[in-house]
Symmetry: C2
Subunit: 366 residues, 2 copies
């Protein structure tokens, strides 16, 4: 039940396996990191000592973000190939650094591995991590691997930098600022729904076949759904948007990346900035495939766009004077504006009704 | 079966519990981090945005280390109180920064929590983290909390700094350098053996009592063993040694902290430096309690000192010319010297026999 994309091998279809114990912890880290060359000027020393050593110029601020990903909570290896998982694990951290207006430079990777994982599995995971790092110009400077009683644990810390004083926080939005969002929303959530549905179908068929896999069960038809699956399995961070903003001299007043859903992130920006907002349903950016899939699933596409999560698009606010400049930024839409706190956080629907925004975003503690 | 130390409540004796779901992820992070004040000049922005923002001067190098701690692999909550666990989780990271000759400044903390943990448990864990941070002058600048399917996962990243060009690596040892070690070795391992033994006794008594806890079973007699337990449950990082070395103008040629055992760490320094070493059994620093407990357990105390692990003492090498200076450093012993690679890595026993050192350190992948 691997997705149609041929990048990465599913753990379900694993054929060969070198035992991790044969290499040991140090051997395994050496094995997956030995060919890594440091490319960033700020990376002085990478894997292999008590700490990584970095050198940042005095005119830079250092950004640090960290993410802990747990099997069964943040990812499901029955449909997420390990290479994709590695790629995504890195990219979601880069996304946090871009969301401060910065550039990711280094990551450290800690893995907890249960006995069912082989050296080849970890190679796959690292292949994804390294692909992401190559694409975004990031160095892997630290690694730590240990056994786990249960499943796979991935902890990634990303270090980046930004010009001193130019970090964009969540608390700088002011009334009349324009609310902007990059790309489109809800597609990753639709991709997840597709994968979850196929997983159920797969297990049903497996049961009907008394535990024997059939070719049909193992290969669901995802034709025409590639975009939605890619948004879920292999998201990208919006460096391109940050680069454009920098070129045009636009300094957002507030910014964050959309990981829990637009509504939830808007609430954060408004609450931390002490403001309200008015967002227009008609301006929410949606991809055709998302809308079409929502219809097929009998879901409200606006709800998906507001609460879907895992979009990794950028949500930011800019002063009204930057309106003309924002119109020049590719793949960015203006979806509303910031108001005073007492005006609330509202969504204006297509028919002109007003609804209070609610953070129904994905809560990993529920 | 909580240890004699009264710091921290055992999860076994937990009486009250506020459900984590009631607070939610953001509420929980806010709850445990809201009173945190940033004390370091380099900490610009802590918890609450996409990234922490740090400012380091141009004459500093930035150090980054990370540790992933998994329940059942790295710690056992049947005898480790959560406050101690928090303390130790932070300190072992500080130890890595000191082992580069640096000063820890910030940590980020990611937690994965299964449903059996209450808000009070996390408060305990954070109380330990904060105690360690206060003692060592470190800021908590990032946090991330999510649910876990199984047990407790703790991922900590520590950021520190060191004067540019002064970071001490593992690869700088040269023949004739003196090998030094701080404190004493093997005590933490003895503490672990004590706790493991009591755990077995506890479960045996529990079985004999048909599942009913008795007062005797719940309170083992650890009188006279406090030092060994403290070394296991509440280790300290050797900032004092680093401060002394700096004051005396001693720049070690190689250094690391002893987490996997002296033998294993000596192998790392020798291999990365392309050298050998001669270590003298009679010079290995041992505490009286360690030796006495080893005898009680019928264990070879030298083996415990060489392979015990979790000492978090500093192992370092200095040029021969620094011998007089090293003699002035409190609580540091010279245990041997560095040789050419072809002379091997050997231990000279009290009776003058030579043995090849082997890395039998604790391997978390086995």
């Amino acid at each position: 039940m691997a997705p149609t994309d041929d990048v990465g091998a599913s753990v379900l279809t694993k054929q060969i396996s070198m035992k991790i114990e044969e290499l040991g912890e140090f051997g395994l880290i050496r094995h997956v990191t030995e060919a890594i060359e440091l490319k960033n000027q700020s990376s002085v020393k990478g894997v292999g000592d008590d700490c990584a050593v970095l050198r940042y110029d005095a005119d830079r601020e250092v950004l640090v973000t960290t993410d802990l990903l747990l099997e069964g909570v943040h990812f499901d290896l029955t449909y997420v190939p390990l290479k994709h998982l590695g790629y995504k694990s890195a990219v979601v951290n880069f996304s946090d650094v871009y969301a401060m207006g910065g550039e990711p430079r280094q990551i450290t990777v800690s893995l907890g591995l249960s006995q069912r994982f082989s050296v080849e599995d970890i190679e796959e995971l690292y292949a994804g991590l390294r692909l992401a790092c190559e694409k975004y110009g990031v160095d892997i400077v630290g690694g730590d691997t240990s056994s786990s009683m249960t499943g796979l644990t991935i902890s990634i810390t990303c270090i980046g930098d930004v010009e001193r004083g130019k970090a964009v926080y969540r608390n700088g939005a002011r009334p009349t600022d324009i609310v902007c969002v990059s790309g489109n929303l809800g597609a990753a959530y639709m991709g997840l729904q597709l994968l979850e549905r196929e997983k159920i179908v797969y297990y049903q068929q497996l049961e009907e076949n008394h535990g024997h896999e059939t070719l049909e069960a193992a290969q669901p038809d995802f034709a025409g759904k590639e975009y939605l699956l890619e948004r879920q399995l292999k998201p990208e961070a919006r460096r391109d948007v940050i680069v454009q903003l920098r070129k045009l001299g636009i300094q957002p007043t507030a910014m964050m990346d959309i990981s829990d859903g637009l509504s939830s992130e808007l609430m954060h920006i408004c609450e931390q900035s002490g403001c309200g907002c008015r967002i227009y349903e008609e301006h929410l950016p949606l991809d055709y495939e998302t809308a079409s899939q929502a219809e097929e699933f009998n879901m409200n596409v606006t709800t998906c766009a507001l609460n879907g999560g895992e979009d990794y698009e950028l949500l930011f606010t800019v002063p009204l004077v930057d309106k003309d400049k924002i119109e020049q930024v590719e793949d960015v839409r203006m979806i509303g504006y910031i108001t005073k706190a007492e005006d609330g956080k509202v969504l204006i629907t297509r028919d002109g009704s007003q609804f209070d925004l609610k953070a129904q975003g994905w809560n990993p503690l529920k």
